[in-house]
Each structure stands twice: as C-alpha cells, then as structure tokens.
C-alpha cells in the first residue's frame, strides 16, 4: 500500500502543470490515465484500474497537496461516467467511458432549467419522437462547463400526459451539434464557469437514450446519488484560501494571530473542519466494511456548505478592511475574494441546503413526507417554476 502512495507522490511531483488552460488540463488527464491513476476504482473493462477505495483514499490525500487542473472533468468522472456504468448499454460504455477517463472528452449535466431547479422533475425541455429519431427543443441553465463540453447527459420530457416523474427520459447528446447553442452565463464571481444551453430541433438517434424511455427519473436519481458522493467526498484542498490552515497562515501574515477573537474563531473552524473530515473518513471505512453511505452523503454535502459559510465569517474577522480592498498586484487578495464569492454556490449547487435537510429527514430519519400536490397529476395540468407548462 505504501508502494502505491510512493508512486502517486513521485508521479505528482513530476507531472502537475503550473498553468490551467484547457489543453494542459487535457494533457495532464491523459498523463494521469497513462500512469494508471485515472478511474482508480473503476472496472478495468471500461479503462479503469480496478483498485479499491483504499487506493482512492491514498490518491485523494496526496492530490490535496496540489491544485490540479482537473475540475473540468469532475462532472464526467463523478456523475455522468458512473451513471453510464450503472445504466449504459455495452456499446455506450465502450464508446464513452475510456475517452472520458483519458480526459479526451468533457461532459456536462443538463438537468436544471429556469423553471426547474430543486424541482427538476418539472422540467419542460421536450423530446418528440420522429420516426427513428428524437427531436429536442428547450432550454437548460446553470450548466457547468457546457462551453467546453463534448457531451452532455440531458434530461428531457418525452410524455406530458403522465405525472411529471413518469414522462422523463435521459439522453446522451453531442454538445458540438449545431442545433445546440451554448451561451456563457456570468456567475457572482464575475467569471463564467456555467452557461445557458438552447436546443432547436436537435435530432438524436434512438440509441442516444440512457436507460429506458420514460425512466429518466430513475436515471436522474442515480446520477444525483453519484453527485452527492462526488461533492460530499470533500477533500479540503491545501490551497483553498478558506481552509483552516490557510486562514491561520493569513492571520499570521496580517499579524492577527495574537488577537484572542481571531484565535478563538480559528480554533472553532479547525474543530468543525476536523469533524467533517473525520465523518467522511468514517463513511469510507463503513463503505469498505459493507455499509454504503446512502443518503448520509447529504450530511457531508450540508456540513461542507456550512463549513464554507463559517470560514467566510472567519476570513472577515481576520482580514477586516483587507478583505474589502487590496492592492491590484496582490494575488492573495484576489484569491481570498474569489473564495468568499464562491462560497454561496456550495449551499445551492447539487441540491440546496434545504433540499439536503429534507433528504436527511425523509430518507435517514424516516420522518413523514410533506403532502404532495403533483404526484398523480398529468404534467400538462401542473404549475411549474413561475408559470404553466407549455
């Protein structure tokens, strides 16, 4: 086992690139693949390494020392790929999985729409059968990495005459098709890591369906399960300016480490961060012993988001005015501001804090569900988002 750690450590020291453009990210991912470090726990028949969670854990703890350029692959590796493993045909697996693990092809997840975020089953993008083909029309929004994506997992409505969860189908689509328009959408940090995506008569072959026609909700739930594990798995990056160790360092640089309030807040942050890291370790140990985390991934997701908000508060206490204004040449100032501005996304993306709490209450604690108004009503007759379905 320590052999594997040595291998990872040596390889990373040698290969992690300094710059972050797309081409170097792709080269880096391919090199990871060639070194046998991509898809560590994936089956070998799909290009994975067939190793155990223990190796994955070692890899995660080693990469925490670096800022890897691999975030564009996260949705493919963490969500779309595992869902294709679960539900794909042999042809789909053979076609999509190896290039995904090599980083040759980037994936995005096309679920959310302006009228359907938390309530994703109320989406309105339509897929209509035309002979052997499907014709897609509609709009998605907040689609992370769509501007660089080659493929996407699209959730669309194939039947508006049945209740909303029953009329959905998942498709694997080519984002480079001219019928797909991607418009960058600026987020609150001023960058545009996500997008609006429009479909105008996008034609798909019958074998673009992932899983079965009308079973799109099952596919979505499968993917959302992978999403929570992938987000909640949570390895605090050493270079995250809001991680305890880095905030403590910032406090020292600013000469604020002697202030008793700063010391107390940093101590609380340390304890909360440890609690979450140890919780994730415990989940992994339980999984290895045969108890999968299930909905408990929601605890990690929720606690991670709360930790982020706590860290923002501590950053403010440490920095004071230095968080409000800094020399334009000061990269550290920019980094901290970016982290503060990114923090709210952790409470929204991948299911809001409220939705996570509801999942914990319903699925873990077994509390009675809220009365449902729309389960048995044909989608056509529902109110969705801020309007009626088209």
């Amino acid at each position: 086992m320590s052999e594997f750690r040595e291998k990872v450590r040596a390889w990373l020291a040698e290969n992690v690139p300094g710059d972050e453009d797309l081409e170097s990210a792709k080269r880096f991912q391919a090199a990871l693949y060639d070194a046998g470090l991509s898809g560590i726990t994936w089956p070998t028949e799909f290009g994975g390494q067939g190793l155990t969670a223990a190796e994955q854990q070692i890899f995660d703890s080693e990469v925490a020392n670096y800022d890897l350029p691999t975030s564009v692959f996260r949705i493919g590796m963490g969500m779309c790929g595992p869902t294709i493993v679960d539900l794909g045909t042999p042809e789909q697996k053979a076609r999509y999985l190896p290039p995904l693990l090599r980083g040759d092809e980037i994936w995005c997840q096309l679920f959310s729409e302006p009228g359907a975020g938390s309530d994703v089953a109320s989406l309105q993008t339509r897929a209509v059968r035309d002979g052997d083909e499907w014709v897609i029309n509609g709009q998605k929004v907040w689609t992370t990495v769509a501007h660089v994506a080659d493929f996407g997992a699209l959730l669309a409505r194939t039947d508006a005459d049945v209740p909303k969860h029953q009329g959905l189908t998942m498709f694997l689509i080519d984002m480079r098709d001219p019928a797909v328009t991607v418009r960058p959408l600026k987020d609150m940090t001023g960058r545009a890591p996500f997008n609006e995506v429009y479909f105008e008569d996008l034609r798909l072959p019958a074998d673009a369906v992932l899983g079965r026609v009308g079973q799109g909700w099952l596919a979505a739930v499968t993917m959302l399960g992978h999403e929570r594990v992938s987000i909640g798995g949570f390895v605090r990056k050493r270079n995250d300016p809001l991680a305890h160790a880095n905030l403590a360092e910032t406090a020292r640089r600013f000469g604020r480490d002697v202030d008793p309030v700063v010391r107390a807040e940093l101590a609380k942050l340390y304890a909360a961060e440890r609690a979450l890291v140890l919780f994730n370790t415990r989940l992994r140990q339980e999984a290895e012993a045969g108890t999968p985390p299930g909905a408990r991934g929601s605890v990690a997701k929720l606690a991670g988001a709360q930790l982020m908000q706590q860290a923002v508060a501590v950053a403010g206490t440490i920095g004071g005015p230095r968080v409000t204004a800094w020399d334009p040449d000061d990269a550290a100032g920019d980094e901290l501001a970016l982290a503060i501005n990114q923090a709210p996304s952790s409470s929204i993306a991948g299911g809001t804090d409220q939705i996570q709490r509801t999942i914990i209450g319903d699925r873990i604690l077994g509390l009675p569900r809220e009365p449902v108004l729309d389960r048995d009503v044909p989608f056509r007759e529902l109110r969705v988002g801020t309007q009626r379905p088209a």
Binding site: A264, A271, A275, R357, L365, L367
Partner: protein
Amino acid sequence: MQLVLDSEQQQLRSTVRKLLADHNHLRSVVDGDETYDRVLWKHLAGLGLTGLVVPEEHGGAGAGHVERCVVLEELGRALAPVPFFASAVLAADALMALGDTEVLPALASGEKIGALVVSQTWGPSAVTATERDGGWVLDGQASFVISGDVADVFVVYTSDGWFVAEEAQRKTLTTLDPTRGQAKLEFAAAPARRLDAADPAAVLEKVRDLASVALAAEQAGGIAKVLETTVEYAKVRVQFGRAIGSYQAVKHACADLYSTSERVESLLRHAAWVADNAPEELPLAAAAIQVFTAPACFEAARSGLQLHGGIGYTWEHDAHLYYKRAKSSELLFGGQDEQLARLAGCLAEGS
C-alpha cells in the same frame, strides 16, 4: 485509524444499554435526596465497568479508551446518575498516571468512589500541603468537586504536587444538573499520602486530555438520545392535521440534530482511537473535541426541548435533564473560553 466499532465493542454497547434500560433509576435520584444511584453503581461494578481501563494487575479489565468511551456514551444517553466520570475517569486516570497501586484496586472494583480536586481551570487547587511528623496534611477549601459529595477518596492536585486523602468536610452543593453531584470540600489538617511524579503538571495535562474525550463521549450519547426521542416524537405528534415531522421547520431541525450527532461521533471515534494508539496526537484531538462538542450538545438539547413544545418544558419530560446536563458539562473545567484557548495554543504550537 479505526473509526468504526468492531463486533466486540458493539456487543459491549448492547450489554451496557440493556443494563441501563433495566436498572437506571434516574427519576428517583432527580426527585430524591441522594445524588447517585447506588444500585446501578453496584451493577456497573459487577460487570467490571468501573475499572474498565485499569490494568488487570490492579484489579481492572485492562480495556482501552475506545471501550470506555462506548460505556460513557451509554451513560450519557441514559443520563445515568452515577459517579463514573469522577471515579472511573478523573480519579482513576490520575492514579494510573501517578503509578498508584494502593487505592486503584478499590476504585477499579467500584468498592470506593474517587474524586479529583483541581482548580476550575485545571490548575493546582487552593488546597495546601504541609509536611508534618514524617507525613503530610492538607488544609484549605476546594469547590465544584465533581461527585465530591459521595467520594471516599480524594486525589488532590496542589502546588506541591499530588496527594491522596480520605478525610474532608463536605458540603453538597445545589446543582444545575440534578444528575451529577458537586461538593465544596474543606480539608483541615487532613492526613494525606504524597504521590510522587517526575512532572506533576504533565500528569494533570494527561488527565485533562482524557477527561475531555470522556466528557465528549457522554455528550455524544446525550445528543444521540435527544435525536432519537425528538424524531420519534415528530413522527407521532399531530398538529394542523399533520405529523409535525412533515413540516420543514421541524424536519430540518431534526436533520441538523442528525448532522451534529454524526460529526460528534466521528470526532469521538477518532479521539478515543488516538488515546489508545497515538498518544502524541492526543492533546490536539482532545482540545478540538470539546470545542466542537460542548456547544453542539447544548444546542442539540435546546433544540430537542423546543421541538417537544410545552411537553418538553414539563418536569415529567426528560428534555430538561439533557438540557441541564449539557449546559453544566459545557461549563466544566473553565468552559469554552478555556477550551478555545487550549486548542488555539495547540494549533499555534503545531504550526
């Protein structure tokens, strides 16, 4: 690092839980004149739990801190009114660290109850030691001594080092937490035995680290129990035609209780494992655990009480007992200010 209990440890948990279900006379202590449950104490002693971490050659079971924490979690869940924390944790840990063999067997067997006498911020107590006729005597007052009202043996930390004494005038204090007694002690030329230690202060540090972990175990048990009873209640209590647990305000508060409970348990499994396997990491783990756990436990107890509505505010309901225990535990040994300063100190040292 092992954060999951093995089957023997799970077995220990069920045994203790069953024992407490059958023999915990919580209400007779809360509503009576005694500050502890003698019968339950005998049962615990009978199972060898009072000397769980004491080495076998001194009459104990020679188990580890993971096991002791399992027992403490159950005692905390049940709010068992026994002097376990004072005797089997504080006093026993001090005596073990000091290499005493005289009193330890009696504490291990549960035949005698021990208490630790230190200052409120884990410094030397205000008790003074004087050498007289080839022996030592203790003088002075000490307050807030946990289970000092029922203890037979006092392990006293003074600026002259460690002593064991058995004679003190005691005044039972009225306590916020009716499940754990405290006393004011007065030593007047009380004969004492000196316990030599190369570094008396280091002994105290170790006792304090282990006490932080042990207290967190009690607190973890308390949170788990509050979660369980609150969720059960939210499923059956109906208002406005629906079970209250179906309202998001209630459901989400329960989810937060769960999230707290899971994270506290994670810190606890780690700290207990560290105590047994990586003592050099104990000061940091022990400092961190109280910073997270003590306020979380009080918030859990407060929230659990709130979610029970008016019933939760009644004397008959146990919610107030968890609330009082949690607040009292949060304030032990200098409270959060002291815990935060300690953790900040550890972090500054480590950097």
